[in-house]
Amino acid sequence: MALVDRYLQAVKFWLPRKQKDDIIAELSEDLRSQIEDQEAELGRKLTDTEVEPILKRCGSPMAVAERYLPQRSLIGPALFPIYSVVIRSLLVYFLLPWLLLWLGITIFSPDFRADHPGAALFASLEPWWLACTYSLFFNTLVFALLDRSQARSHLVNDWSPRALPSERDHNRISRGATLFELTITVATLALWVQFDTFHRVFHIFGVTITLSSHWPYFFWGLVVLTLAGIGISGLHLSTARWTRLSASLRLVIDGCAWGLIYCLFRANLLQSLSGSDVSSTEAAQLVNSLNLWMASSAVWVLVIGILVLVFDVRRILRVGGTA
């Protein structure tokens, strides 16, 4: 019976203190009755090897004890769906983009890799780890406390079918939003053209800035793409929803626009600077620094552009899925 006693001792460890002896006495009686029945059939004492299957069938000590305990959870089924949405949103809209941005910079920026050699590269991800840990911990803590407070009953029980949000249509675009977008784009285009930006030479605060000979290509490219964007907005004014055509056009326009901006950042756009207060040496150094800064920032443009394109592709798939 040593095996049975060891088993009962293991079960006892996990039981609530007040019920330990009572439960163990009853379980012990059942196990000993089973063993006695088998011994009566065989006409001899059972060996440990024969007792073992009886205990195995009864279940692991922790599992047996767990059945006597009240059902417990950190966040109960009433609040868990809300908790799950919050955590998923946190992951998808905050932590994942941050990680992708870090990955993009690590892959595409040699300067960043040079500044963070070896383990320092992973150390640069430390703020992300901390954000993960703190956000998950505090959200879980808040929901666990909410689950144990009276607030739960208000959240779960105080509801009305009329107060539920209206049916969501991801492909719908409000005409107000389209008008706002259209106004901003037209105003930007007007400013762009009004400031005479298709010339290569600018005079600002007594400084003359000369851009490289590539500038007109970028300028006209951006004008054409902005006009195309205005065309899509016009289309949305009449349809008021994303269609496969408008979503595909948006992908093409965004792809061209971000590609163009990326090239613009890497094109050593500034050719020269001159002004009465700036010496030619200082001006040359400034031009060089600004061009270098733009070239090193191009990676950010690339990463943001890729993110925009991912959203555009997702939109096409969504429109296709509901078409």
């Binding site: 439960i23 006495a25 009853e26 379980l27 009686e29 059942d30 196990l31 000993r32 009755s33 089973q34 069938r57 009864c58 279940g59 599992a63 047996v64 059945r67 006597y68």
Partner: protein, 116 residues
Amino acid sequence: MSPSISADIHNDDRFENLRQELRRGSLPLAVLAALRTEHYGYTLRKTLADHGMAIDEGTLYPLLRRLETQGLLVSQWREEDKRNKRFYRLSPDGKLILKQLLIEWKNIRTSLEDIF
């Protein structure tokens, strides 16, 4: 249905889960009904098993405890065959509830038979 297909279904986890769920729902009723006669745990298990409702000790004893806490059962430690055993039987409340549950059970059975 051929025997091989039938055997496959019985080995199917989905069937097994649903079967257990179905039996688990009926267990309190079976236990209450069996305790119209006084039993201690082990003999109650044997009685249920003899009627095709085998139940392991890890499920039965917590269930007995819950039913007792709800006031449906009363228990008493008593010596029998030189060993202390805990005997259970229906309380007056338990008898009333069992009567209502049996009516409910018959209604469910009738409804299901209508659906089948």
